[in-house]
């Protein structure tokens, strides 16, 4: 079972030391978004596949475990995968397989494959970003990239209190455990156990609400108002940060040139698999 306290572990992972971890937060965010955008607009398999290889190299540079990253990928896959799996059956094209009313078309299959490859690349990019950037750095990167102030504030506060929330929940669960409570226990009626879990959730809501009130008071006490600005460290990206981003951009440009000039020679990988 994936425990909520696992979030903490992800953040520890994100605070390691590697060339990728040490990149400036904004650069990592921009390059992640750039890779995702390029990958989503490409109609051939060639670009996404090369980008995936690039991401796997970055993964190695970031000293992340392939196995753990793959597990996380599998965990995230169903969200987009559910949409993709229907594509071969619902898109128009030449029928290549038929069973009673169920048909698979070549257009649909190609589209499904393209979507799947795109999804894998996007998820890999996000996994790398989230495992090399602590939550607080993500929040500050969004802020520095001119995210609306109120949203940025909410994000920052959420990041801060997520940990407190997890601690509180862990404390309640520990104290329940100390009194022999287990949701899978057999000594108590099922209904009663569910009720206790309900109380726990209710208590968390209540605590969250009250914590919010108290934090707001303490913020107001320090002069907070709707006109307040947030403090951002003026740290500009270094040469190596720009180099990283530039490398990715150059690779993408080269890929696009190859596609433009030699798409005929790449065979299936250079074929336009889009559906329009």
């Amino acid at each position: 079972m994936v425990d909520i306290t696992q979030i903490m572990r992800f953040d520890d992972l994100a605070s390691k030391d590697s060339p990728i971890h040490n990149l400036e937060g904004r650069i990592k965010l921009i390059s992640t978004i750039f890779i995702i955008v390029v990958c989503v607009i490409s109609q051939e398999l060639f670009t996404p596949i090369i980008l995936e290889i690039l991401l796997l190299i970055i993964l190695k540079l970031a000293d992340l475990s392939y196995v753990d990253s793959f597990k996380r990928l599998l965990m995230l896959l169903p969200f987009g995968g559910a949409v993709i799996i229907f594509q071969p059956f619902i898109q128009p094209g030449n029928v290549i397989w038929r069973y009673s009313w169920l048909t698979i078309t070549d257009g649909g299959l190609n589209w499904g494959i393209l979507l799947f490859v795109r999804l894998i690349v996007c998820l890999t990019a996000i996994i790398i970003y989230s495992s090399t950037t602590p939550l607080q750095e993500m929040a500050s990167s969004f802020r520095k990239l001119k995210m609306p102030r109120d949203l940025a504030m909410i994000l920052s506060i959420m990041v801060r209190f997520l940990f407190l929330f997890v601690d509180e929940l862990a404390a309640i669960r520990k104290s329940q455990k100390a009194r022999n409570f287990s949701i899978h226990g057999t000594t108590t009626p099922y209904k009663w156990r569910v009720k206790q879990v309900g109380y726990t959730i209710g208590m968390m809501f209540l605590k969250a609400y009250e914590q919010g009130e108290r934090v707001h008071r303490s913020m107001v006490s320090r002069g907070f108002s709707d006109a307040s600005e947030m403090f951002d460290e003026k740290k500009s990206p270094e040469k190596s940060d720009y180099l990283y981003l530039l490398t990715i951009i150059i690779i993408v440009i080269v890929l696009e040139i190859i596609i433009y000039k030699f798409s005929g020679q790449l065979g299936y990988f250079g074929k336009n698999l889009g559906i329009n």
């Binding site: 801060r160 108290r214 008071r217 303490s218 107001v220 006490s221 320090r222 002069g223």
Partner: protein
């Protein structure tokens, strides 16, 4: 005439449900004083504190800062909140930013200060509380004592004239308590008035110049520590206990030794006992 820094006049506060939290509270705090407000749980200490910088509007009566009544308007309040800084009991209520640095920056930013000035104040206040080098740390990963000191730094950075601390030593280990008290004494040496609330008799004994006893929303006694701690009836009424030195001297007096029960510090008490036993 002495400079009255903070004064409450017939301050009364009633919660919407009808509970009267404060009844006609009149206190005067002079510039540079170290004040302790003592009282049992639920006496109204936190409610009283939230009136000091206009977080709560009194039902009747008012608060004056430097002889000027708190007016509940935005600009006026901003000024009051710069002058009167409150450190809350639970650092988790106060430290909301993702890093120590950003949290300490919060108050100065709200004052509309320039970036360089904010940087300077962060450095200065973290140095003052002995937390330099923790700028990039997440408050969550700090110990209780460290969190407390960062919370204090967040207030110092606003350069207040009066600092209010709700139970500043609750939940800290003895070393943590000493560190916090040292910071407060340093600030006081620089002219800042300090107001704390506490049940910790021994700590208050060593720290405060003047004590107010709050009970059921009323100030039932005020005076220096000798006056307050030697009044056993009062302490009993307010659910407090006398310092160990007082207890010992009272016991000795009961046994017939001629000692002055108003001696509070350990050194004074020892002197007094030696003197009495020699006679």
């Amino acid at each position: 005439m002495e400079h009255i820094h903070l004064e409450t006049k017939n301050l009364t506060f009633t919660y919407p449900d009808g509970t009267q939290a404060l009844k006609n509270v009149n206190i005067k705090i002079k510039k540079g004083e170290k004040i302790a407000i003592m009282g049992p749980n639920g006496a109204g200490k936190s409610t009283l504190f939230s009136h000091f910088n206009g977080l709560t509007e009194p039902t009747s009566g008012h608060v004056e800062i430097d002889g000027k009544k708190i007016i509940f308007e935005r600009d006026e309040l901003l000024e009051v909140r710069q002058k009167v800084g409150i450190v809350f009991q639970d650092p988790n209520d106060q430290l909301f930013a993702p890093t120590v640095k950003e949290d300490v920056a919060f108050g100065p930013m709200n004052l509309g200060l320039e970036y360089d000035e904010v940087e300077k104040r962060i450095k200065e206040s973290l140095e003052m509380v002995g937390m330099s080098g923790f700028e990039e740390k997440t408050p969550h990963h700090l110990s209780g004592g460290q969190q407390k000191r960062v919370a204090i730094a967040g207030i110092i950075a606003m350069r207040p004239e009066i600092m209010i601390l709700d139970e500043p030593t609750a939940g800290l280990d003895p070393e943590g308590v000493d560190k916090v008290l040292n910071i407060l004494n340093d600030l006081n040496d620089e002219g800042m008035s300090i107001v704390i609330s506490s049940h910790d008799i021994e700590m208050v004994n060593g720290f405060a110049d003047k004590i107010f006893v709050l009970y059921h929303g009323e100030i039932i006694a005020q005076g220096d520590k000798h006056q307050i701690f030697s009044d056993k009836e009062l302490l009993k009424k307010a659910h407090l206990k006398a310092p160990v030195t007082t207890e010992v001297l009272y016991k000795l007096k009961e046994k017939g030794l001629d000692v002055d029960t108003e001696k509070l510090s350990i050194d004074e008490a020892v002197e007094e006992i030696l003197k009495a036993t020699k006679n």
